[in-house]
Structure formats: C-alpha cells, structure tokens
C-alpha cells in the first residue's frame, strides 16, 4: 500500500513507518485530503475512528492534524498526520465521513483550527461566545474568559 501511495504522490508522502506496532503516514498538507480519500476508496478504510490535533507552538508549522482510520475488512488501523500553518484552513472530511462533523467542531473549539467546507463550524463543548482555544499550549491551565464568566454566571471567577 505504501509503495503504491509513494508512486502516486512521490515526495508528498514524507514518512511511512511503524511505531510500537502501529502504522502511520506523514503526508504533505497539500495532498492530505486526497490520500485520506484514496485510503477510503482503494484500501477500504471506511471508518474514521478519530480525528484530533496536536499543537507544537515552536515549530514552523505548529498544528499537527491526526486522522485515525480503521478498516473493518482488514482489521487494521492507520494514522495519517499532516502539519498546517497557523490560521490555515484544513480540508474537511465531512464530504466523505458524516461522523467527522462533531470531531472537526471539537478541534475548532479546542485549537481554533478552521475546516474549509465544513457545513456547520461552531463551538461544540464551550459556550459560543467564549474567547480563546484551551488546548493550545499558550492557553494557561487556569486561564478563562473572565468577561464571559462575569456576564453569564455573575461571579468574578469560575474557580
């Protein structure tokens, strides 16, 4: 599978390796959507088990997107990762997996990552008017939107 992907996308596949017995692919952000769709079409990775992000503030491309796909017929998982720049829109997967909807909303809620083509991109766990994205590394552990807390809860602090 890796060889075939490499021959199609050449240097777009940056790394294909196994860590602790788990397979993962690191791909270029320009082809990540195509690779994910071809994993669906050609290799029957029909389940999008999970989708999340990791924030590396010191890197040039600080947002790492992680997609975990699962193929029921082969009983195999694969992780696909791609790096994105700050403020760059990530292609949505809701066109192929309906289940990506809430997962992408959560990544937006927690990291401020926007998804191009997402039908309904708004916060999911935090209140709509909240400012800040808690899972970014620059967001403090006890930091909160004090204005929101004061206005809606009528107290100085949520603590």
């Amino acid at each position: 599978m890796v060889e075939q992907l490499r021959s199609t996308y050449c240097s777009g596949i940056k790394e294909a390796a196994t860590y602790a017995g788990q397979n993962y692919l690191v791909v270029d952000r320009s082809i990540c959507h195509e690779v994910l769709l071809s994993l669906y079409e050609q290799w029957k990775f029909h389940s999008l088990t999970d989708l999340t992000a990791v924030h590396y503030p010191k890197d040039e491309l600080p947002i790492e997107m992680v997609w975990i796909l699962f193929s029921m017929s082969a009983n195999e998982r694969v992780r696909v990762k791609a790096r994105f720049a700050e403020g760059e829109a990530v292609p949505t997967l809701t066109d192929r997996w309906v289940g990506a909807n809430w997962l992408e909303r959560e990544v937006y809620d927690m990291f401020g990552v926007t998804f191009a083509g997402h039908p309904d991109l708004r916060r999911i766990l935090l209140p709509d008017e909240w400012t800040g994205f808690p899972l970014r590394k620059d967001y403090g552990l006890q930091q909160q939107d004090t204005v929101w807390v004061k206005k809606n809860l009528g107290i100085e602090s949520g603590r």
């Binding site: 788990q22 029909h46 088990t49 990791v54 992680v66 009983n75 289940g99 708004r122 766990l125």
Partner: protein
Amino acid sequence: MSDDQFYESLDEVEPGRTFLDSNELVLNMGPQHPSTHGVLRVILKLDGEKVNGIECVIGYLHRGIEKIAENRTWAGFAPFVDRLDYTAAVSNNLGYCLAVEKLLGVEVPKRAQYLRVILTELCRLASHQVWLGTHVLDIGAVTPLFYVFRDREDILNVFEKYCGARLTTHAFRIGGCRWDAYAGFAQEVLHICDDLPPKIDEYRDLITGNRIWLQRTKNVGHISAEDCIAYAITGPVLRGSGINWDVRKAQPYSSYEDFDFDIPIGTAGDTFDRYVVRIEEMRQSIRIIRQAVEGLAEGPIIARVPKVLKPPAGEVYVSIEAPKGELGYFLVSDGSAQPYRVRVRPPSFINLQALEKMAKGSLVADVVAIIGTLDIVLGEVDR
C-alpha cells in the same frame, strides 16, 4: 447557536414568515431533564408529534480533562479518567493504563491481566445494569430499576473490598494492579456468577415479552450497518445493526484471547435488538469472568516500572471495548514526565452524533427511547 440565532434560522427556512406563523413547534428538552441521563440539551423541531429536526447542545459537563492531563504526571492523570464514564470507571482506567504501558513497552504479568479482566467485566455488568434500569424507566417501567440496583450492589461491594471505592475506583496502576485479590475474592466473584443469570432471566421475564415495551422499542431508532460505519459508531449499537465487531475479539488486549466467549449481534438495528444484544452481553461477561477466575494463576501483580515514568518520545493509539463502545486513548509523549497530549476517543460522544439520524422522522416520545438506547454518559461526552 444562541436561541436568537436559532429562531432566525427558522425564518430562513420559510421566507416571509415569522417564527410564530410556522406550524413547527420548537421544543427545548433539557439540560435538566430526567431522561437525558445527565445534562444533555436537545432542541427539537416538531410538527405535531413528529420530529422534523433535532439538535444536540453539549458541553455542560466539560471539565477540560485533556488539558488537565498535560499538567499532570503520567501516573497522576490515571485517577482523572475514572471521571469520564463514571458508570464504568474500571474500563476507563484499563484503557489508559494499557496505552501508557504500550508507550513504555511494559509487559503486564499474567495474574494482573486476569485480575483486570475480572474487574473490567464486572464493571461491564454494572454499567449494563445501570443502562437497563434507566432506559426502561424512561420508557415507563419503574420496577426493573430497583431490581438492577439491588443486583449491582453485589458488584460494587466487590469493588469496595478490592480497592476501597465503589464508583471512581482507580483500580489499576500503570504496569499492573496495585492490590492483589483479597481473601475470599474468587468465592465472592463466582457467587455473583452463579447468582446473576437467574436474575437476568428475571429482567427478561419482566421486560422482553411486555407488549408496551415491544411497541416502544421495535422499529424505533433504526440505524443501518452502513450508517453505523459512516458515523464510526461502535459497541452494542454497532452490533445491534448486525456487524460482528468487538475490540476484545478483533484486537485482543489483556489476555482476552485466552477466553471463550461469543459476540451477540442483532439484525434489525432497532432499539429492541440493541436491548437483546446488551442483555446477551451480560451473560457472555459472566462466562468470561468464570474462566478468568478459574485461570487465575499465582504470580506477581505488577511489572517493574520506575517511580517516575518518562516514556520515550512517541505516539500511540490504544483502544478497548468499553461498555459503551470503543474507548481509545491517543497519547503523545515528548520524553518528559508529563504527557504532551492526551486525546480520549469517547464512544458516547461519537455514538450520540447519530441521534439526529436515528430520531429524525420519529415521534417525540421515541426520542427518549433513542437517547436511552444509545447508552451515553455525559461525563464522557463532554470530558
């Protein structure tokens, strides 16, 4: 979406008409509502009794578990995962421990693996009992709730004797178990295994043949196998739609390959089939527990792990079959004593997303049945 925006969106659907002109009624259900099993808010658009649209508003129980993890040590975060799915704390703990062990490359001793299986399966029984009682209560049968809570007591007593806690147990440690089985553990567990099957028959006698129950569950909340895969639904909901997939069989962990058990599956993918699947799962859990107790060999209960855990830099995704479905942990280590990122893949969150698909076009009373059959726990949905 704020309420104002929501009403504006209704106007967009029917231009030129205000919200009050519309035949549609917007009904707000929750967040404080007995049948939403916690603080789930559902906005229903109704045409008479028929549900035309449904939107879930979640997050009322958000505690920032994933953020907390980044500020704790690897071992120090373990008690927090108990608070995700608080009806199945032991399962959450097992998943987290397995994931960290995978990062560390630690092999857990056999005795600890078997102990873990016994406690996790007991926990599955307890979780399914809570589901059964509350689900049936939502639909209008009050009695079974008391039956299941009576029987769940025996299981919680075992937890209490084992580790001192009944709900948020923190039963396991990274590398194995903190405590060995107490004196009389095997007898008590086997006693539950003997005691419970006739009680499950009792539940069945109370519920399965009941005409009201059948009418409220048959052909209600149908979801097809294809839709389950598209939504990445797992657990009894997936198996109720006829797909034979269970992490314990497909990708065994903690010695599940040693045990002989079946995966019950449904055919119709409706609320009734999911009920049958879960009831049958309880019987299979009893089978597993019996085998694990009989196979419990002497030996160490914890592997040699350092006091301060510093897993090598790397990432793993490890998942287990929790009572609600596939519970996964995606861990990123940067080689320090604290996790760089912990992502929990909560089965309840992902299964709840299908509520819209399952409830659209049904009657308003069925929404309650469908929320019950999804078996969600809001602690896990909101994290």
